[in-house]
């Protein structure tokens, strides 16, 4: 615990100095290396772009503009589109399942919140807790930390997840299991946590 918070502090300093120089594990004997931060940023860019496209080109267009279908948490019963957050979660679950059979692919990602509708998605590690708080309080900034879990060292990056559409706000504010009910559009609701072993 003590060690962890110490490494968090050190890392904070390094991050402000403009990035880390640790290379991702020497896999496949490849010569070019990438820093964990650059890798996490690239992964997040892809996830976030896909998510934005789903939100705009599928949900906004069909639900809000053309009004031909609804988006609903209970998409099966309602024969509706999955919510953008669900789309993201299903992707992360599938990636975790497929990565289990790929020894060279060592990372995982999840969508978490300090105010989770589903308690399973609350932060667990110290870095997750500190990072979710940080991105909620410093809009527009990301959080990076190193943490040691079960004797293994990880690089953990956290990116804010923001309420981009009224449906994000109404679903969370009205949900019977939601611990926070005063979200506004544009508020940080949680964060994407990407963890890479070092």
């Amino acid at each position: 615990m003590k060690l962890l918070s110490k490494s968090l502090v050190t890392l904070g300093v390094m991050a402000t100095l403009g990035g880390l120089s640790v290379a991702v594990a020497a896999d496949v004997g490849s010569t070019p290396s990438i820093t964990p931060k650059a890798m996490a940023d690239a992964l997040h860019l892809v996830m976030d772009s896909d998510r934005a496209v789903y939100t705009k080109k599928i949900v906004n267009r069909l639900v809000k503009k053309e009004k031909v279908i609804k988006a609903s948490e209970h998409f099966e019963d309602d024969k509706a589109l999955v919510l953008p957050a669900q789309m993201f979660r299903f992707g992360s679950e599938l990636a975790a399942k497929r990565a289990a059979d790929m020894p060279d692919v060592n990372f995982n990602y999840s969508l978490q919140s300090m105010w989770p509708v589903n308690k399973q998605n609350a932060p667990k590690t110290e870095a997750e807790k500190a990072g979710l708080k940080f991105v909620a309080e410093n809009k527009g900034e990301n959080y990076y930390a190193e943490e040691t879990l079960g004797g293994k060292k990880y690089f953990t990056a956290i990116y804010a997840d923001t309420a981009v559409a009224p449906v994000c706000v109404s679903c969370h504010n009205d949900h019977k299991d939601s611990p926070k009910r005063d979200f506004k559009l544009g508020d940080v609701m949680g964060g994407v946590v990407i963890r890479i072993p070092l």
Binding site: A52, K56, N60, K139, T162, A165, L185, G186
Partner: protein, 122 residues
């Protein structure tokens, strides 16, 4: 040209030292309060692709639109060509038409301020 009272104004909304210029005009002062309360959460950061008034390239083609059209888009919602979505009243249904219009006026004035500041080139 509207007189600029405080350049890097902050205290009013506890928003930190952010570049949300305060203009002396009373209507714009009121508009700024509405804007900080509802619109800044997206327009201050580009959330959901909301155009940022401090970025001239995102506003140059909008400040020249008819003001009535901007009001209509802010009150009734608006889809951009890219299916980005400006929700009705910024999602705050408690706002009156007059409040939303004042916030639009403030945002346009803020955008013009930055367009003037940076001249023609970006």
């Amino acid at each position: 040209m509207a007189a600029v009272v405080v350049l890097f104004a902050a205290a009013t909304a506890g928003a930190g030292s952010l570049p949300y210029v305060e203009f002396s005009d009373e209507h714009l002062y009121f508009g700024r309060i509405v804007w900080l309360g509802t619109c800044e959460n997206c327009h201050g950061y580009g959330v959901a692709d909301a155009p940022i008034p401090m970025k001239p390239n995102e506003w140059r083609h909008r400040v020249s639109k008819q003001r009535e059209i901007l009001y209509d888009h802010a009150i009734n919602g608006f889809f951009g060509p890219d299916d980005s979505y400006m929700p009705e009243r910024g999602g705050n249904t408690a706002l009156s038409d007059a409040e939303v219009k004042a916030a639009v006026d403030y945002m346009v004035e803020l955008a013009k301020f930055y367009i003037d500041e940076t001249g023609e080139e970006k």
